[in-house]
Amino acid sequence: MNATTLGLRRGWTEQLNLWSDRKELLNALVGTVGTYVVLVLFIGDDNVPGAPVSMAAFMTPGFLAFAVFSTGLMGLPMLIAADREEGTLMRARTLPRGIRVYLTGRAVSTLLTIALNAALVLLVAVPLAGVTAPATPARWFTLAWVLVLGTLAVVPLGAMIGSLVSGPKAAAAMLALPSMLLMLVSGVMFPLEALPGLVRGIAQFFPLYWQGLGLRAAFLPDSVLATELGHSWPLGRAAAVLGAWAVGGMVLAPWLLRRVRGR
């Protein structure tokens, strides 16, 4: 069986094993959907200044982007660090093509987690925040590629971080603050225009900003463009930045993982 098929199967089994653990499943659901509900209730239904869209609806694509981002850059490193502690990573090293299969599997299980979270958040978002489904087939397409490319942009990176830290607790400690900061400056919760130019420049280097932008382009009407930098949806640039992160990570991560010594 080729490494990709084997990795797909691995990820599927991995995820079923995780979901069949009721505590883990509950944690994942309450963690993401629960946070979303609290945020929406907290923000209320005031409109975004200068746009005919509620704050809650504006925030929803950003929240989705952050869910993808944190699943890839926090959840995944913690899983990998745990796998290393348990010896799962070492087991993969003893198998032919084992690391590739392992990484594919982790990418798949991360994708499944993201898909489940996204579906649940949207299910809640429609009645609660007045979010409507993407209006045209083109916007559905945008939703699909932004989710996939956004996932691919963070998964290899998350894998690298997971292979560098000593354990799951260290991963959580190391990542919590930077990802909170990045969330604040990436315009996922409120329009970026409020922030100084330097901060906006830094934010645009990271995938989170572009993913948030892509998802807003899929969900929000063009009437909110007044709140976007440059008043347009630069989807080509979003694809380029997310793609560059994905490719860069995919080249570096396997190389680095092969060098991991610990069991």
Binding site: L6, T13, N17, L18, E86, G87, R91, T94, L95
Partner: protein, 287 residues
């Protein structure tokens, strides 16, 4: 020599200033069960991990199945089976799922259910790996190590946690694999009875060097731990029990009452050897 599966010459390895391996030579032949013995810290794990291709930074010549382990690829890796000590991986997977998943990495794997049956794991097949008993977990590790039909199998303390029957079954299995399929086994163990039972040859690694290598009998002879000669009126520790018995025969002018000669066990020889090596090392160090 085409029959040499593992060949090591002048292998050295250091962690910073600490020399772990100080020039190791080894040859393993096809179908041989070879045991690596040695006290903790002797460098056994390092040596085995180098052979498995998990360590770099060594110097010397190492060939496993004709390739340098530090550079060999997936085709080479597919011919190796590895059973490490105290594995706790994949705790949420069901035992059979994990074995089938690992099997799918190989071109011609063994039949998963047959293998489970051979190792007495059929009833545990649906259980999660994390809840298996110590012995079941160990047997699953062995199954995972041999499911790909390897040419070389590395076994690190394989029977820790086995009950006597499981241990005997396991020994029979290893003997069969080595005998029928030409599997070469490198066993690391503290269990001397296991080493004596299973292996054609034993190498003793002390302080980064192979101090002796040979069959269990050769090992005992090479070390010459004293034999004990006992008879009705006394007892004597000697390196030449046969000579002592002859003297006694002459002294008694015939059969010696209650004569008993006890050769050193492998364990005594081994412990003697380690003590000796340590003394030499200490003397060398104070000079």
């Amino acid at each position: 020599m085409h029959d040499v599966v593992i060949r090591v010459r002048g292998l050295r390895m250091a962690y910073g200033p600490i020399q772990v391996l100080k020039g190791v030579d080894l040859d393993l032949r096809r179908g041989e069960v070879f045991t690596l013995l040695g006290p903790n810290g002797a460098g056994k794990t390092t040596l085995v991990e180098i052979l498995e291709g998990f360590r770099t930074g060594w110097s010397g010549e190492v060939e496993v199945l004709g390739e340098n382990p530090a550079r060999a690829g997936d085709a080479w890796r597919a011919r190796l089976g590895v059973v490490m000590q105290s594995w706790r991986d994949h705790p949420r997977w069901r035992a059979r799922d994990l074995l089938a998943h690992v099997a799918a990495h190989y071109e011609k794997p063994r039949d998963v259910d047959e293998l489970l049956a051979t190792l007495g794991l059929t009833e545990a097949a649906r259980n999660r790996v994390g809840v298996l008993s110590g012995g079941q977990r160990r047997r699953l590790d062995v199954a995972l190590g041999i499911v790909g039909r390897p040419d070389v199998l590395f076994l690190d303390e394989p029977t820790t946690g086995f009950d006597p029957e499981a241990r005997r079954e396991f020994h029979l299995l290893i003997e069969r694999l080595a005998g029928d399929e030409g599997l070469t086994v490198l066993l690391t163990t503290h269990d001397l009875a296991e080493a004596e039972r299973l292996s054609g040859r034993i190498a003793v690694l002390v302080a980064g060097r192979v101090v002796t290598c040979g069959s269990p009998a050769e090992l005992a002879r090479a070390v010459q731990a004293p034999s004990l000669v006992r008879w009705e009126d006394g007892e004597l520790e000697t390196a030449d029990p046969s000579g002592v018995a002859w003297d006694l025969h002459r002294r008694y002018g015939g059969p010696v009452p209650g004569l008993e000669i006890r050769r050193p066990t492998l364990e005594e020889s081994y412990l003697d050897l380690i003590d000796e090596t340590r003394e030499t090392a200490t003397v060398g160090g104070t000079r």
